[in-house]
Amino acid sequence: MRTEPDTGRRKALKLALGAAALAVDPGLFLIAAPAQSRPAGVAASDSQRWGLLIDVSRCAEGCTRCVQACSAEHGWRGGGPPGLDPQWIRVLSATDPETGRSVRAPLMCQHCARPPCADVCPTKATFRRADSVVLVDRHRCIGCRYCVMACPFGVRFFLGDNVSDRERRSPRGKGTAEGCTLCVHRIDEGRQPACVEACPGAMMFGDLNDPKSPIREVLAGQGARRLRGNLALGQGVQYRGL
């Protein structure tokens, strides 16, 4: 049974609150602003471009709510020997050896505008949807793992084990590649990705093509950077505070 999207009034209230908070202090907290639900039968279009903004200064020590939320939503377990089981989102701890400053940053599929994984996929199983979400069409994936090799961030995974008790909206199968889907099953209904919903205030999701969206305003005002920016991949996921 589909959950009903927010009513118009609640949406307006949330937007107003968010705008007010941003006006007071843009870095105060990142409010998750609701996206529009797309009606049934309407295709995703490039008029929207989904992005994620992560403020690592707000990523609290020891917090793994994004990881747990994603794991519950999609049914991957992780936590095995390092590098073995898929882990769609993981938290990096990075320390500057010169100053000792350390940050934590969640790392997931960066949803690049020019994704190397989609370039190398021989069957077009890995593709970039019109609204800039990089997805794996598991109907076409032959499991060659070239995309896993090609990802500059190590956020593509090959499921080498049988899946038991699949999640209802997240099909996963042995022998195919997978990774963060930006929770397309949620964002198509106007909801937030599971990680953003669970995060107490370090993550923001929105439409990068909408000049009035909060994410655009923060990016325009304070900017953010992309990981491995020299590769010019145009990721939808950007980071502040690194």
């Binding site: 049974m1 589909r2 797309r38 049934a40 039968g41 309407v42 295709a43 995703a44 593709f127 949807r129 019109a130 609204d131 997805l135 069409d137 598991r138 109907h139 899946v163 699949r166 999640e167 209802r168 909206r169 099909p171 996963r172 199968g173 042995k174 022998g175 195919t176 397309v184 198509d188 209904e189």
Partner: protein
């Protein structure tokens, strides 16, 4: 090039037996699959059924592969969602339960899709990725 007169050419030695073999195998396959006996559909449709199926039973039998293929192309690659056409809805309405009332998964030959597909010996791949039973509730009691 030295070639003895008694040995037949490449064509006779290999291609003809190969072609004969293919014809025999094809004939055997046709004979063994003779007839188009679609099995009787399971009589029950779940009490949780939410309205009629997308098409009539006879039509579904004929075109469900095309429907599935079309829907998955639209849903996955284009992002066109149709809540009426989700596999989740199919397996919820057509759920088969065992003696204890638990839904059987596609591993079990009593699964709705298996009852027909096992008979016509067409392997289906859907449930290597998709959930084959209706969604269950979370531990908290909320629906997943």
């Amino acid at each position: 090039m030295m070639r003895s007169a008694a040995r037949p050419g490449l064509l006779r030695r290999f291609v003809v037996p190969l072609a004969l073999g293919v014809v025999v195998l094809a004939a055997a396959a046709l004979v063994l699959r003779a007839g188009d006996n679609a099995p009787a559909l399971p009589a029950t449709v779940s009490a949780a059924a939410q309205g009629p199926c997308l098409r009539s039973a006879a039509e579904m039998r004929r075109i469900h592969p095309t429907l599935l293929k079309h829907e998955r192309q639209a849903a996955v690659r284009e992002g066109k969602r149709d809540p009426q056409a989700r596999i989740e809805r199919c397996v919820t309405c057509h759920v088969m339960r065992d003696a204890s009332g638990a839904a059987v998964s596609a591993e079990d030959p009593r699964h709705f899709c298996r009852t027909c597909h096992d008979q016509v010996a067409v392997r289906i791949d859907c449930f290597s990725c998709h959930r084959s039973t209706p969604p269950t509730t979370l531990a908290s009691g909320a629906a997943r």
